[in-house]
Symmetry: C2
Subunit: 115 residues, 2 copies
DNA sequence: CGGGAATATTCCAGTCAAGGAATATTATTG
DNA sequence: CAATAATATTCCTTGACTGGAATATTCCCG
């Protein structure tokens, strides 16, 4: 997995921008308005998003229209694939745990040992 | 989405740790060894992973065994869900694009306008 | 060409995160 | 209890990131 994508997303404002752009392309000014940012900050964050490939720009007259690019998010999704097996394991363990409770009548202890 | 999870993953060493732990729990020393880190750095990074919930610790005698927790990764996966529609859109646009090429015989231009 | 709107860039100050080295802590063993 | 192994914590320094304010750039329009 690529760290630059995660790094770009790890900043609250930028994450908000990505979520905003999920519903369609937006202008710098619109983004700044909706997030309560000053324009320069918006531009700076958008630059980082752009450099990370999470966003692409189209110039239209005076304006710059930013649009979400799916590829980096797809890459994360793909990376998560290798962990999905774990979740099922966890589900198995949960059902084992429930069975255990039923059998022994112990009070549930959240600090119980794993493994 | 939660920024702290992304922040924890955005550091290369920590991301490597998560990938290491995908194959099972490990000791601090083992993690440090496999990643070529000094022990204090390993402990510091593991602390951050632990505080973000990506990892849990079990004390066994002298050792601390770190184990991956799936929940934060599941949360990311869940967050991505809201973007999955976009990918299909993109596929549609790609097939439109291919049709367009076939019809007009233009040379492919990677800088073509979106929308 | 001049003015104004939309956006980008620069400079600065404050804060935060990471590595290095040293030290503290905890548990084992004899 | 002393010695040692495994791990955590602290202190320090340095580099990176963020926001603010000011300024530069680009483009449209009359």
């Amino acid at each position: 997995m690529n760290t630059t994508t995660l790094n770009a997303l790890a900043e609250p404002r930028r994450l908000q921008m990505i979520e905003l752009l999920r519903d369609g392309p937006l202008t710098v000014g619109e983004i700044a308005d909706r997030l309560g940012l000053r324009q320069p900050q918006a531009s700076k964050h958008l630059k980082i998003l752009s450099e990370s490939g999470l966003v692409e720009v189209r110039a239209e007259a005076n304006r710059r229209i930013y649009r979400l690019r799916p590829e980096p998010l797809m890459e994360i999704d793909n990376w998560l694939e290798s962990f999905r097996g774990m979740w099922e394991e966890r589900f198995d363990r949960l059902s084992d745990y429930l069975k255990h409770l039923k059998k022994s009548g112990d009070s549930p202890n959240s600090k119980e040992e794993f493994e």
